[in-house]
Assembly symmetry: C2
Homo-oligomer: 321 residues x 2
Amino acid sequence: MENPLNLIKNEISKIEETLQSLRVSQHPFINKVSEYVLFAGGKRVRPLLCVLSAKALNPDLKNSLYETSLLFEYLHVATLLHDDVVDSAEFRRGRKAARNLWGNQATILVGDYLYAKALKIASSLQNPSIMEEITQTTLLMSEGEVLQLLHLDDTEISEEAYYEVIYRKTAVLISCSCKVGALLSGVEDKKAEELANFGYNLGMAFQVIDDLLDYVSAETGKDLGKDFSEGKVTLPIIFALNLAPAQEKKELLRLLKSKDIEAKDFKRAYEIIEKNRGFELTFQKARSFIDTAKDYLQFLPPSPYKEALLYISDYLLTRKK
Amino acid sequence: MENPLNLIKNEISKIEETLQSLRVSQHPFINKVSEYVLFAGGKRVRPLLCVLSAKALNPDLKNSLYETSLLFEYLHVATLLHDDVVDSAEFRRGRKAARNLWGNQATILVGDYLYAKALKIASSLQNPSIMEEITQTTLLMSEGEVLQLLHLDDTEISEEAYYEVIYRKTAVLISCSCKVGALLSGVEDKKAEELANFGYNLGMAFQVIDDLLDYVSAETGKDLGKDFSEGKVTLPIIFALNLAPAQEKKELLRLLKSKDIEAKDFKRAYEIIEKNRGFELTFQKARSFIDTAKDYLQFLPPSPYKEALLYISDYLLTRKK
């Protein structure tokens, strides 16, 4: 059986080639702005999951699977462009944010364009179930963006509210990518739903780990955690606040809310979170999402594509950045 | 036969009632921002044309026609919200722009939400032809928005380039509203295409007249033309520049490009445009679009709905604001 990592690399190459060969628009400016963000080191997680889900159910699938899978990358990038404007971001993936090069106006409008492009690709499939899935997803995502804006500084956020935020921010699109892949393979809705559940749990784990890494990869002391310095409440904080004695809870909240934190403040916050099992419990939660995700794949017949999906699931728990 | 104006008022009331009775979201904040713009005196042109087009082909149509027609209002309002951010608009329809009350961030995101909502309504129809029509329309619109941003100060704009701009800005959505109405009535694609062509020409006339009124309703001397003071090149300018002698052409361009124009400058520009038949030829062009629009309705059987569509067409040429 093919090594899952090789298979994954191979599928990513095909996605990458398709992305390179297709222009999003006939207009050079739209392409320039889009390609700046599309080729900024994205890992193609969503198209990849779409392709693997489809092939795990129907390995011989012969249609425009790769072209279709790109719609999830376009959707994702559209949200990144709008997020950067909303957050007044200076950087994205270590480079200047698009809005820093072409301004907020063009960034908003190219985001709108990529969103429209994604929906156009979806509608060309002429498959009402797929279309409903995708429009429901974008509705949940855009509603989530507004809710996140409103709860910007809410340190009272509960574990449940956090899951709701990351569901809309990350998991719903990943779940949709898997489900649409399944629907493209031609299986009945019930089987597609299993893939949707896999994607949901995988997506939740993905974001939980992302939020954990924001602390752990900053541990060296060179960096401050980005989320923490922005006062963002994520799962490590929520768990630590639940367990911390009153004094430490107060201190952690004070550090979280202070404007210009220094390395020593972040170090202290890190200590408090670690002592109160914030990181440990967060990692456990991620593992539990991954376990559930993998359970939903059990019904799949053995195949290298199934192995690849399992490999990705395990990989999430070991990644360091 | 029912008086067309009464029929139109009656249909608008039904659209208005439906709009009032449906919430766009479960979240009060999203509703507040959306409703601020949705209930700001919009004339419901797009839902109205959708409803009338459907009923002109099938007067007994019994489905969720009014609910469906709202998707065109949501799409329209979504573009207004993003336009206001892109243009840094202070006002919209005589009131503070939404971005002035809730900020650019919320305005961008609620715009995204309304767009997603519109597409969700469309997908719930489970009609691939309708979905393709709508996604193609939003793609053309969003591409047009980018192109307009790039040509912001282009005084060399040709008549053809102007038509392309107003097609994407206005006519394509109006055409889509009519065509989708036709498709909802259940007719074959060829008949729906006639309604699409009607809508295209009506939409073109609508925007041409809008651009004309920006001058003519400012004639009293109290106001400066908004487009002119922003240096925007519309059809009256294009026609006048074509016919004006070199000296007047130069003067008109100088006035158009100057930063802080006064009432007397606008008056002088108005004179030059009028003398060189800019307004007259613009109005003729609008009439020609309307004549073509009405031709496309000839195949319709006689009905009060057909009469209402003809009435709206004629009304466009006589409206004063």
